[in-house]
């Protein structure tokens, strides 16, 4: 369960988040929508613990624990996963090596046994097939030479392997064609469950046809200015963000 209370954050001295209040219970899917500059991506980076973002007020509790005090790797171990909008390429770090290191690092930090190579390969084989991640892709250095769609599928693939409890998806649909969108959505839906929650940050309503949210929130100027059920997304599709951009910070 994620509790965000009056969260304020800035970057380079500029205020971006101006008091976010949000509760996400286990098993829920919340969509965050809003115009450019509303602070959606910033929210995802602050939850993941990116250095450049300075939290200036408020708190974030994950299952009752203070998330803001944890380092990025500690947050991952605690169950947070950020699917990046622009996944980075890391030449020289093999995809398989990276996956195994990450998986075992998290298991070790939780006091669980590390995976043996055969067990690891088995899990990888299953998960990669579902997301159409090929052997060739797995052999390459992380994301190097991957198309935009392949990089996004790779994010969901990692999500499937790492089994997080809070999945924050930062504009996962940007740059995806319909087919890629379907594969990604299927991957996400397969991971939905009573112990897992999702924060789906998106610009467009389209993704939400495939990943149907329980709640939709509109962000503007660093605040959540409206919340509703999934119909809110359709309303936004029709009317745009104009009603909300005039909301004072």
């Amino acid at each position: 369960m994620l509790e965000i209370k009056d969260l304020c954050a800035e970057v380079d001295g500029q205020k971006i988040l101006n008091g976010i209040d949000l509760t996400v219970n286990d098993g829920e899917v919340h969509a965050i929508m809003g115009p450019n500059g509303s602070g959606k991506s910033t929210l995802s980076y602050v939850l993941a613990g990116k250095d450049e973002y300075e939290v200036t007020g408020g708190e974030v509790l994950l299952d009752g624990e203070n998330l803001l005090e944890m380092s990025p790797d500690e947050r991952a171990v605690a169950g947070v996963f950020l699917a990046f909008q622009y996944p980075v390429e890391i030449p020289g770090v093999g995809t398989m090596t990276f996956l195994r290191t990450a998986l075992n690092a998290q298991r070790k930090a939780r006091g669980e046994a590390e995976l043996t190579t055969p067990d690891f390969m088995k899990i990888v084989k299953e998960a990669s097939a579902k997301l159409q991640i090929t052997q060739d892709m797995l052999r390459r250095p992380l994301n190097v030479g991957f198309s935009g769609g392949e990089k996004k599928r790779n994010e969901i693939f990692q999500m499937a392997l790492l089994e997080p409890t809070l999945c924050v998806m930062d504009e996962t649909d940007s740059g995806l064609d319909i087919d890629a969108l379907r594969i990604v959505a299927d991957g996400v839906n397969a991971l939905r469950g009573p112990k897992r929650s999702f924060l789906v940050i998106t610009h467009y309503q389209r993704l939400l046809n495939y990943i149907v949210p329980d709640f939709v929130h509109v962000m503007s100027k660093g605040r959540i200015v409206r919340s509703g059920g999934k119909e809110l997304a359709l309303e936004l599709e029709e009317r745009g963000y104009a009603d909300y951009t005039s909301e004072a910070a």
Binding site: G49, D73, F84, I90, V93, F98, T101, P141, L162
Partner: protein, 439 residues
């Protein structure tokens, strides 16, 4: 003798003077040594006002020079040899030098005796027949002047025309002992026409001992030969290492030298290579890993004295702690060396606030139909990449090590021989404090 201008000699220079005068007067090579030492005497140790040594001022970095080393007792030698195991997985044939002296019982040339001729230089020195001059004017290279003055032994190795030894050949230079001493080696390698060989040059010694190594390797590669030469410099953490490699290439040679430099308190790996004839191709690469207070210098001078040769140099360094790295890369293209293709790139990663790197590329181009380029970068670990790895649960220092390894591995993986790549990568991993992986 001309009056030399009075100059205050440093303690190290005085020590060298003392050690030189203590050398046997009845040495048949005495005259040659005197001549070389005279050159050293008039210039002294190189210092920062000498252009090629401006970043590695030996007058400042070398406070003293210990006396020439004595041969080590066999148990100590055997022990010391354990450290020089970087290429063990490739089961090379080996000639072993301990404290600057050839040790036959530790050497093994089985399986390659039909492909090579080997003798120890010490034998030639003893009968006055060692050919120590002619490689290069010692005035151009202080390392050479001191080497000629003090050299005790080395490998005289010839790989026969057309030979393709089935084992790589390793020249091992280890220091054994707890008392500081100076070991001076001269290796003279000739690779015959059309031969194909892999040669390893290994340096190792104990931590905590302020020993010094001066090693000069003359390498002549005849027409059409293919040579892979991999140097692993893993001297002890208080050692001073001065290494000079002098390759001369005939026509249509393929030469791949690689230098892995991680050892020593002060180390300089100098390569002065000449393309003497047409159509040769060289991939000259290296990886340097610095930490604590190490000062690690790589200095290259590549001379194209003939047309149609290609030189590609790629060096990477990762500097941590308060270490200092230096890369000097000079390309000289003589008039008439048309159709030269010569590129040089040096990339350094600075891992701490106090680490430093100096890059000095130089191009002297006297022909007009050539392609030459150089590049040099130095910077920090990419924050985006680091954050990504951490966001997946990998803790900070492990994530940094992964990125440093990836950075350095790129250069190592340019080596064509997979077994060599694996051996060097295992070493790099170990040096970075990572597990040696098997996936």
């Amino acid at each position: 003798m001309t009056e030399l201008p009075t100059r205050i000699r440093t303690k190290a220079e005085e020590a060298l003077e003392t050690h030189f005068s203590a050398l046997p007067a009845d040495d048949p090579m005495r005259a040659v040594r005197e001549s070389a030492f005279d050159v050293f005497r008039s210039n002294g140790l190189p210092h920062r006002r000498v252009e090629e040594w401006k970043y590695t001022d030996l007058r400042a970095l070398v406070s003293d020079v210990p006396p020439p080393a004595k041969p080590a007792p066999s148990a100590a030698a055997r022990d010391a040899l354990q450290r020089a195991d970087v290429f063990a997985p490739l089961k090379p044939a080996r000639v072993v030098f301990v404290n600057g002296t050839f040790v036959p019982p530790l050497s093994d040339l089985e399986g390659v005796t039909d492909d090579i001729d080997f003798a120890s230089l010490g034998r030639f020195i003893a009968d006055g027949g060692a050919s120590l001059e002619g490689a290069l004017d010692p005035a151009e290279a202080p390392i050479l002047a001191l080497n000629t003055a003090f050299v005790s032994d080395g490998a005289v190795l010839r790989i026969r025309d057309g030979a393709t030894p089935t084992r790589p050949i390793e020249i091992v230079n280890v220091f054994a002992g707890v008392m500081p001493a100076l070991q001076t080696l001269r290796h003279q390698i000739a690779v015959g026409a059309g031969a194909k060989a892999t040669i390893f040059m290994t340096f190792a010694g104990p931590d905590g001992v302020a020993y010094q190594t001066n090693a000069v390797t003359e390498l002549e590669i005849a027409a059409g030969a293919e040579v892979q030469l991999v140097t692993a410099q893993e001297e002890g953490d208080k050692a001073i290492h001065l290494g000079l490699l002098l390759p001369r290439l005939a026509a249509e040679v393929k030469f791949e030298p690689f230098v892995y430099a991680a050892g020593g308190l002060v180390a300089r790996s100098e390569i002065r290579m000449t393309f003497e004839d047409e159509g040769s191709d060289v991939g000259l690469r290296g990886v340097t890993i610095g930490r604590d207070k190490q000062h690690l210098d790589t200095t290259l001078v590549v001379t194209h004295a003939a047309p149609r040769c290609g030189g590609h140099e790629y060096f990477k360094a990762a500097m941590d702690g308060q270490s200092q790295g230096v890369f000097q890369g000079k390309i000289v293209v003589d008039p008439g060396a048309q159709k030269t293709d010569s590129k040089m790139m040096s990339r350094a990663l600075l891992l701490s606030e106090s680490a430093e790197f100096s890059n000095k590329p130089e191009l002297e181009i006297f022909a007009d139909d050539v392609v030459c380029g150089h590049g040099a970068t130095s910077g920090r670990i990419d924050e985006q990449m680091l954050f990504f790895l951490r966001s997946r649960g990998i803790e900070k220092s492990e994530a940094e090590r992964m990125l440093v390894l990836a950075f350095l591995a790129e250069a190592v993986e340019m080596i064509g021989d997979e077994a060599v790549v694996a051996a060097l990568e295992a070493r790099v991993r170990r040096r970075l404090g990572m597990e040696v992986e098997t996936l």
